[in-house]
Amino acid sequence: MDVVEQALARRAKQNDVHAFAQLVELYKDRIVSFLYRLTGNREDARDLAQDVFLRLYNNLHTYDSSLRFSPWLYRIAQNIAIDFLRRKKNIVYLDEPLGEFDDQAWQLEDDEPWPDEVVEFKDLQSALEQAMARLNPMYRSVLVLRFAEEMSYEDIAKVLNLPQTTVKTRLHRAREALRRLLIERGYFEDSQRGEKDGLR
């Protein structure tokens, strides 16, 4: 698969529009889904996906065809999504250095109270979607890349332009933040109580 993509990217780089169209066809659903998971809005995801592929086309000349294609494309998508969220919410996340794991590290995207209608989760799926929407995009993206896109740490590190150790730390914090959000809303039982009682 990678070889095919690399070959298509190489041809697209040489201004072969048909190869470019094949790349778009190959990745369109994955990129739209990825963007939806980051933005939480279908229309935004579709519009942004178009921007992703246009930026891809304009930057193909910088693509090193000896490297794997998908992390490079996801990096473009990630940057576009973060720019979009930044514009939308005026929040800066990804490039900020993170402190040690504390209450601030798993902060919510905003301090607005949860609307009543989303409090009652129908199932884990909707609970997760609601919780993900409230998660810091930095954490959201690392969770999506790891568990939804099933990327390796190496590829996630390439997408996020971070060392692998940072990716692992961030993933751990993201998972913990999500778990705490679900506990906060009463979906999960607080297993941390055990810690307060003294872990073995």
Partner: protein, 205 residues
């Protein structure tokens, strides 16, 4: 196994625990309700993210993206696709036609051991005039030979025709020979190289 080790292992999704670790984790889960809950929650989260909603791109997504490409880039693409063919055709026309002409209609020439004989070449015709006597053989290439005078030897006609006037006479044999296509090509390129050398010589002067 303590709680810290258990939680470290349950979160390390890149490192599958070995059989012994797995056994110890199961044992710890059975003993520690808090960690059992924690493990279940982590697994549920990971599984849940795995099956988050998939959104498909619209059917006309690819064409919409292609429509958004700047038109000059599309032209550049068309140009890149056809430029190789275009250059090939131009080269073929530029060099092919003269080459074809030179191969099909090579320059006529005549070879004779009689350096003093006045043999005339007019266009594609080689003429031995009425008052001229050629002592020895002559060979005519790519021309029509008109013998109006006398040839005291054999006449070799290579890809050539001939006619003998009322006063004309050939003492020896007349031998006709046709060039093979390959010979024609060789002659053609020999002519080209002669032309080029002549042109360059003239240009340098």
């Amino acid at each position: 196994m303590d709680c810290a080790r258990y939680r470290q292992l349950i979160c390390a999704d890149d490192l599958a625990p070995d059989e012994e670790q797995r056994r110890q984790m199961d044992k710890h889960e059975a003993e520690c309700l808090s960690c059992a809950n924690y493990g279940t929650q982590i697994r549920q989260i990971e599984k849940g993210i795995c099956s988050l909603a998939v959104v498909k791109a619209p059917d006309d997504f690819v064409s919409e993206v292609l429509d958004c490409l700047p038109s000059w880039q599309m032209l550049r693409t068309v140009w890149s696709r056809w430029r190789v063919a275009g250059v090939a055709v131009a080269l073929l026309l530029f060099f092919g036609f003269p080459t074809y002409m030179l191969v099909q209609y090579p320059k006529p020439f005549v070879a004779s051991l009689d350096a003093g004989a006045r043999i005339e070449v007019l266009g594609q015709t080689v003429i031995v005039p009425e008052d001229v006597v050629v002592n020895g053989d002559i060979t005519v290439y790519h021309a029509s030979l008109q013998v109006l005078g006398r040839v005291r030897g054999n006449v070799f006609l290579v890809s050539s025709g001939y006619s003998i006037g009322q006063q004309g006479k050939v003492d020896g044999r007349i031998v006709l020979k046709e060039h093979s296509p390959w010979d024609k090509v060789v002659y053609g390129f020999r002519n080209i190289s002669q032309e080029v050398r002549a042109y360059l010589g003239g240009a340098w002067r």
